[in-house]
C-alpha cells in the first residue's frame, strides 16, 4: 500500500467531483478544484521536481529532502503531494518558527530545497545563505505553483516503494534535539485505504451523499494531512482553510463537518452568540472532528447545544495519526482500534504496532531505543480499553506526579474534575515541591474579578472529596490564556514556569 496508489484509486473512483474549495484572496467567490484538476496539479508538480533533481546530488545521499514553511493553502497541498509523487521527501515546518529556527532545522535534516510562503519571504533572514534562489535551492511556494499551473509537463503517477520515507515531521517534543519522525508511504496511506474500503458500498456515481467539510489543521502537523486524506477517502468535498481564514470561511456556512482543534472549537462556541453568521454555520454542522488535544466535558456539551456531534481519534505523529477511530462516538473515548495496527496496555501505558507506525526517528539512536519496547511503540500515554474495545486516554506518563509517599497522581484526572466548574476555561495541574498546584484561566474574571472567589470555593469543595495527598494546595487564577502550542494543546512546562513566578495562594 502506498500513498500514490491511494491517490490513483481516489482519482479514478471520484472522477468529476469537487475535491476542494478554498478562499482565493483575489476573488469574491471561493475557488473550486475538481479531482481531475488536483491530479493534474500533482502530476505537474511531480514533473517539476523530477527535472529539478536531474544532475543534482542530495545532501543526505538519498532522496531529496524538500522543506515547506507556509500557511495552509491549496498550492501547499498540491506541492506537498507533488514532491511525494516525484519520489522525494517532503518536510513541512511550522511557519511561525523564527527564521533562525527554520534554517537550523533545515541544516540538521539536510534540506535540498526550501519552499517558503510569500509572507515568510518578507522576513529578511530567510532563505539564508544555504538556500540561494538563483541555484534553485529556495522558491516562493505561490510563484512556483502558478508556474506549474501553466506547465504542460505532467509526470505519470507510479505507486513507488511502500517503505520509502515520503514525509518527515517534527515531533512535538520541545526540549533538546528535535525529534524528526520519518513516515513511509505505507505509514501515511493505511488509514486512507481502510476508510476508503469501508465506504465502498456508498461509492456509486450518485453524489447525494457527498458532504461538505471545512478543515483548518496545519499541514505541518500529522492531523493536517490525515484530516485531508480522511476527507478524500470519503469522497467528500472539503474547504481547505487555515487558522487565519477559518472564522471568515466558516461564516460562509454550508458545512456538515468541521475539522479543527478543541481550543478553536471552544472559542467558536463562545463567540457564536455575537455573530449570527457563525451561529447559523454551527447550527448547520452535524459533526466536529477535534484533533491534537483532548476535549473536556464542557466543550462537548457546548458542541451538543448546537447539535454538533463530537468526534476524536487517538494517535500521534509516530503512528501517522489514527490508531483508534472506529465506532460511534462515545463520551470520553477515542474510538475503537483500526484494523492495520494492534494495541496493548502494559503497566498502564498504551503500546502500538502495525503498518502505520514509523520505523525510527531520523539520526537519533537514543530516542529510538526509548521509543520502542520489543517492537512495540511506546506512546507515553496512559489508557484503558472498555469491554467494547473503546480506548480511553487518561494521561501522559511523563506528567504523572509521584508524591514522596510513592503515590502516583495523574494531573489530567484532576484537571478533568476542575473542568466541571463552568468558570474554568483552561487549567493545568502539576507538582510544586511536595504540593499539588493548579493554574487556572477564567475568561469571566475580566468582567467580574470577584468570581475568583467562586473558583477558590469550588476547588476547596473538590478537595474535600479527594485523599489528602491529591488535594490541590496551591492555586493561581489568571485572566490570561495559558500558553499553548499551534494545535491548541496546553504547554504544561511553560505554564508551570509562569506559575512559579506568579503569586499562588491556597484555595
Amino acid at each position: 500500500m502506498t500513498l500514490i496508489g491511494f491517490l490513483k484509486q481516489y482519482f479514478s473512483s471520484f472522477r468529476g467531483r469537487t475535491a476542494f474549495f478554498y478562499t482565493d484572496p483575489e476573488q469574491a467567490e471561493p475557488a473550486k478544484v475538481t479531482t481531475e484538476e488536483l491530479e493534474r496539479d500533482i502530476r505537474r508538480a511531480a514533473a517539476f521536481w523530477d527535472s529539478w533533481g536531474r544532475g543534482r546530488k542530495s545532501r543526505s545521499g538519498g532522496r531529496f529532502r524538500i522543506g515547506i514553511a507556509a500557511e495552509n493553502s491549496y498550492a501547499y497541498l498540491a506541492e506537498y503531494l507533488g514532491i511525494i509523487a516525484s519520489g522525494n521527501t517532503v518536510i513541512p515546518l511550522n511557519q511561525s518558527f523564527s527564521p533562525e529556527r527554520i534554517l537550523e532545522i533545515a541544516g540538521e535534516i539536510g534540506f535540498d530545497a526550501l519552499l517558503l510562503g510569500e509572507n515568510l519571504r518578507e522576513l529578511p533572514e530567510l532563505p539564508g545563505k544555504d538556500f540561494p534562489e538563483e541555484e534553485g535551492r529556495s522558491f516562493s511556494l505561490e510563484k512556483l505553483f502558478s508556474e506549474h499551473r501553466l506547465s504542460s509537463e505532467e509526470a505519470p503517477l507510479s505507486d513507488g516503494d511502500p517503505d520509502a520515507v515520503v514525509l518527515m515531521l517534527l515531533s512535538s517534543g520541545t526540549s533538546g534535539k528535535s525529534k524528526v519522525v520519518q513516515l513511509s508511504s505505507q505509514n501515511l496511506s493505511v488509514y486512507a485505504w481502510e476508510l476508503f474500503q469501508s465506504g465502498e458500498e456508498k461509492k456509486s456515481t450518485d453524489l447525494s451523499h457527498m458532504i461538505s467539510s471545512i478543515h483548518m489543521l496545519p499541514l505541518y502537523h500529522i492531523g493536517g494531512i490525515i484530516g485531508i486524506l480522511d476527507e478524500m477517502a470519503r469522497g467528500d468535498c472539503c474547504y481547505l482553510s487555515s487558522a487565519k481564514r477559518f472564522l471568515g470561511d466558516l461564516e460562509r456556512g454550508g458545512f456538515d463537518r468541521l475539522i479543527t482543534v478543541p481550543a478553536v472549537m471552544k472559542k467558536l462556541i463562545e463567540r457564536a452568540p455575537r455573530s449570527s453568521a457563525l451561529s447559523k454555520s454551527l447550527k448547520r454542522a452535524e459533526e466536529a472532528l477535534c484533533l491534537g488535544a483532548g476535549m473536556n466535558a464542557s466543550l462537548i456539551s457546548g458542541m451538543r447545544s448546537f447539535g454538533i456531534e463530537p468526534r476524536t481519534y487517538f494517535g500521534m505523529t509516530e503512528t501517522a495519526g489514527t490508531v483508534t477511530y472506529r465506532g460511534a462516538y462515545r463520551d470520553g473515548a477515542c474510538g475503537k482500534l483500526a484494523s492495520y495496527c494492534e494495541l496493548k496496555i502494559e503497566d498502564g501505558e498504551i503500546l502500538v504496532r502495525g503498518k502505520n507506525v514509523m520505523k525510527a526517528y531520523l539520526n537519533n539512536e537514543e530516542e529510538n531505543r526509548k521509543a520502542f519496547r520489543d517492537g512495540w511503540l511506546r506512546t507515553g500515554d496512559l489508557g484503558r480499553l472498555d469491554e467494547d474495545g473503546y480506548l480511553y486516554v487518561t494521561g501522559r506518563i511523563k506528567n504523572i506526579i509521584i508524591l514522596s509517599n510513592g503515590e502516583n497522581v495523574s494531573p489530567e484526572e484532576l484537571e478533568e474534575k476542575l473542568y466541571a466548574c463552568p468558570l474554568i476555561d483552561e487549567c493545568l495541574v502539576f507538582s510544586e515541591g511536595e504540593k499539588i498546584a493548579a493554574k487556572i484561566y477564567s475568561s469571566a474574571l475580566s468582567e467580574r474579578p470577584e468570581l475568583a472567589g467562586e473558583i477558590r470555593a469550588y476547588v476547596k469543595e473538590m478537595n474535600r472529596g479527594l485523599p489528602m495527598a491529591e488535594q490541590i494546595k496551591e492555586l493561581s487564577i489568571t485572566e490570561e490564556e495559558l500558553p499553548k502550542n499551534a494545535m491548541g494543546k496546553l504547554l504544561r512546562r511553560q505554564s508551570a514556569e509562569v506559575c512559579h513566578q506568579a503569586d499562588s495562594e491556597r484555595p
Binding site: E122, A243, K244, L247, K484
Partner: protein, 82 residues
Amino acid sequence: MDREEILEKLIPIIREVMDSQEEIDEETSMQEDLGIDSLDFYNLLGALESAFHIRMPERVLAETETVGDIADAVMKRMEKQG
C-alpha cells in the same frame, strides 16, 4: 497611504474583528484593553491582509502590542510591497 489614513482604516477593522464598542485609538492595547485571543489574532491577520493587500508574517503581528504598533507594521509591509 500615510499613517493617519492607515489608522483611519484600521480602527474599524479592529472594532469589527474584536466585536468591541469601546473607544479605540492608537494607544489602545490589543491585549490589556481589548483582550485579544488566539482566534481573534488569526482573524485579524487575515482581515489586515485582505484590507490592505499585504502579506504579513505571523511573527510580525505577534510582536505588536498597541493599535499604533499594528498601523506601523502595516505601513512597513505596504512600503515593502510597493
